[in-house]
Symmetry: C2
Subunit: 112 residues, 2 copies
């Protein structure tokens, strides 16, 4: 009965996707778990896919967003860099500002 405004937001650098909803989810999971494999598992992503996404992000960004260390009993760790933390915060800020605006505008929609 009522209309809903939906949106998708992503950040590009030179026409390449740097960050979007799924990538931010992966970064948040890395922050929470401290490991790429645990992060991938926690958001039901294959390790291969998670690794590819991370590699794309790190290659696209001027400064890597995540640093990984190999080995150790848990098979290596992964941590957000300062640049990673900053861009995730920016993305979440944009997402929330945009949601606020669309929420306001949805009240002005005609009945349809």
């Amino acid at each position: 009965m009522s209309l809903e405004i939906k949106s998708r937001i992503w950040i590009e650098k030179d026409g390449q996707t740097l960050l979007g909803h799924g990538r931010v989810q992966l970064l948040a999971a890395i922050e929470a778990t401290g490991s790429l494999s645990a992060a991938a598992k926690s958001i039901s992503l294959s390790y291969k896919k998670a690794w590819r996404l991370l590699d794309e992000m790190n290659t696209t960004a001027a400064t890597p967003l995540v640093v990984t260390s190999v080995g150790g009993k848990d098979g290596g760790g992964a941590q957000l860099t300062e640049a990673g933390t900053q861009i995730v915060a920016s993305f979440n800020h944009i997402r929330s500002e945009c949601d606020k605006l669309l929420d306001q505008l949805s009240k002005q929609l005609p009945p349809a």
Copy 2:
């Protein structure tokens, strides 16, 4: 070098897409040409696809967004209803307000 915020916006009704960028393009082309086939041609859409999109919009909306008339020397005409004109205007307003916000926010993005 510089980051760009990209977005896609669409309007749903009961979980069904009512309007998005492509559909608004089709409606604008119908308004400009007065015919579904001419509209489809002008935006490089097959008639079949345009017809399907229009049928989905008209079925999803409470009031049809376009009325078509069969026959005549140009093979029938198509015109936006008041509901159609209104929802297109709303969509364009949302799009432009969102663009303004994202443009502002993109200036606050960290260098990356």
